[in-house]
C-alpha cells in the first residue's frame, strides 16, 4: 500500500523535473534574426570567396546594407521574463485554472476527503460496534459456558444421586430376592423332606402290609376262614359281642 502511494507521488515529480530540465523559454536565443542571418552569410562567403568586403566590393554591393541588417535585427527577449502575450495568456489560463480549482476541484477533493474520512469513521464505528458485538457474543458464550458447566455439574450430581439410589434399590431388591430364594429353598427342602418321609412311610407301610398280608394269608386256613365268616354273620346280625 505504501509503495503504491510512493509510486503515485514519484510520477508527477519526475514529470515536473523533466519539464523544468528540457523546456527553455520560447525564442530566447539572445541574438536577433538579422544578425544571425548576416553572420551566417558572412561565414559562407568568407569560406567560398575570401574576404567579404572584397567580395562585396567586386560585386558593387553597398556595404551599408550590413548595417541595415544589423539595425533590423530583433532584440532578444529576456531569459527570465517571458513575452508579454505569454504572460497574459499564461496568467489568464492560470487564473481560469485557479478559479476552476477553487470553485470545482477543491470542493470535490474536500468532499472526497470528507467522504473518505466519513467512510473511515464509519468503518471505525463499525469496527467498534463489531468489537462490542464480539465482546457481547463472548460474554454470552462465557455465560452459556458457565451455565453449561453449572448444568453439567448438576447433571453429574443428579446422576450420582440416581446411581446411589439405584445401587441402594438393587441391593435392597437383591436382599429381598435372596430372602425369597432362601424361603423357597427352605420350603422346597421341607417339601422334599415331607415327601421323602411320606414315601418312606408308604414304602414301610407297603413292606409291613405285604408282610402282614403274607402272615394273614398263611394263617387263613379253613377253620379261620369259617370263624371269620361266622363272625361276619354275627356282626351283620348285630349279635357280636
Amino acid at each position: 500500500m505504501t509503495n503504491q502511494r510512493n509510486r503515485l507521488l514519484a510520477a508527477p515529480l519526475l514529470a515536473l523535473l523533466a519539464l523544468l530540465a528540457f523546456a527553455g523559454p520560447a525564442s530566447a536565443s539572445g541574438e536577433s534574426v538579422g544578425s544571425c542571418m548576416a553572420e551566417k552569410l558572412e561565414e559562407l562567403i568568407e569560406e567560398s570567396h575570401g574576404d567579404l568586403e572584397e567580395v562585396l566590393h567586386e560585386l558593387h554591393v553597398d556595404t551599408s546594407i550590413g548595417d541595415h541588417f544589423e539595425k533590423k535585427c530583433i532584440e532578444a527577449p529576456s531569459p527570465i521574463l517571458p513575452e508579454t502575450n505569454e504572460i497574459i495568456w499564461g496568467g489568464s489560463a492560470f487564473l481560469i485554472l485557479f478559479v476552476l480549482m477553487v470553485k470545482k476541484g477543491f470542493p470535490a477533493v474536500r468532499g472526497a476527503m470528507d467522504a473518505r474520512a466519513e467512510k473511515i469513521r464509519s468503518d471505525l464505528d463499525a469496527a467498534e460496534q463489531a468489537r462490542v458485538d464480539a465482546q457481547s457474543v463472548q460474554s454470552d458464550y462465557e455465560a452459556r459456558l458457565a451455565d453449561a458447566k453449572t448444568e453439567a455439574s448438576q447433571l453429574i450430581d443428579e446422576a450420582r444421586v440416581a446411581a446411589d439410589q439405584l445401587k441402594g434399590d438393587l441391593a435392597e431388591r437383591a436382599e429381598v430376592d435372596i430372602a425369597e430364594m432362601r424361603e423357597r429353598a427352605a420350603a422346597d427342602i421341607e417339601s422334599s423332606r415331607a415327601q421323602a418321609i411320606a414315601d418312606l412311610r408308604s414304602e414301610v407301610a407297603g413292606i409291613a402290609l405285604g408282610a402282614a398280608e403274607r402272615v394273614v394269608h398263611a394263617s387263613l386256613d379253613a377253620e379261620v376262614q369259617s370263624r371269620l365268616i361266622d363272625a361276619y354273620i354275627d356282626e351283620v346280625a348285630g349279635t357280636d359281642g
Partner: protein, 176 residues
C-alpha cells in the same frame, strides 16, 4: 337296547328254567358259571369269538358243564352262546337270578368270600341280613380270593364289607 335285550334273554332263561322244574337250582348253576366267566377272561373270549366255529364253542361248553350241572343249565348256556351273546351272558344271568328271586318275593344278596359258605352259613347270613335290613334275600356266593378272608355282601347298592382285605386297606390308610 342292550338292557332290554338282556332283560329279554333273562326272562326267557327264567321261563325255561321254571318250565323245566326247580328253577333255583338252574339259577344257582348259571350264577356260578357266570362268575367263572367273569374271572376267566380266556374262557369268555373263546365263547364270544364268532370266528371260532359254533360247534367248537358248544363243545367247550359241553366239556365244561357236562356231568357237573343239569342238562337244562347246559342247554341254556349253549343257547345264549349259539345266539352270539356270550359276552352278555354274565349280565343275562344276573338279571335272570334277580328275576327268579323277585318271583319268590326275595332280593339277591351277592356274597363274596375267599371260600365257599356252607349251607348253614348261607341260611344264617340270609337271616342276619333280613334282621339288619328287613329284606328277605337269596344268598349267591362268589368265590373271590382277593377278599383274603371274611365276607363282602352286596344287596343292590348297599355293601357290607367284613373282609380281611378291607382291614388291611384300613391299616394301609392309617400309615399315610
Amino acid at each position: 337296547m342292550a338292557d332290554s335285550r338282556v332283560a329279554g334273554y333273562a326272562e326267557a332263561l327264567f321261563a325255561v328254567a321254571a318250565a323245566e322244574g326247580d328253577s333255583s337250582v338252574v339259577e344257582d348253576e348259571l350264577f356260578r358259571f357266570a362268575q367263572a366267566l367273569r374271572s376267566d377272561n380266556d374262557l369268555g373270549s373263546t365263547l364270544a369269538d364268532t370266528e371260532l366255529p359254533l360247534a367248537r364253542r358248544l363243545q367247550v361248553i359241553e366239556d365244561l358243564l357236562d356231568s357237573r350241572v343239569s342238562a337244562v343249565t347246559t342247554a341254556l348256556v349253549s343257547m345264549v352262546v349259539g345266539a352270539g351273546r356270550a359276552a352278555e351272558l354274565p349280565a343275562i344271568v344276573d338279571a335272570m337270578v334277580e328275576r327268579g328271586a323277585a318271583s319268590r318275593n326275595k332280593t339277591v344278596a351277592t356274597v363274596r368270600s375267599a371260600v365257599d359258605l356252607t349251607a348253614d352259613q348261607s341260611e344264617r347270613l340270609a337271616a342276619a341280613i333280613n334282621t339288619r335290613t328287613g329284606r328277605d334275600v337269596e344268598v349267591r356266593v362268589v368265590i373271590d380270593p382277593s377278599v383274603l378272608g371274611g365276607v363282602v355282601t352286596e344287596i343292590g347298592d348297599d355293601i357290607i364289607d367284613g373282609s380281611v382285605r378291607r382291614r388291611l386297606n384300613q391299616l394301609r390308610e392309617s400309615f399315610r
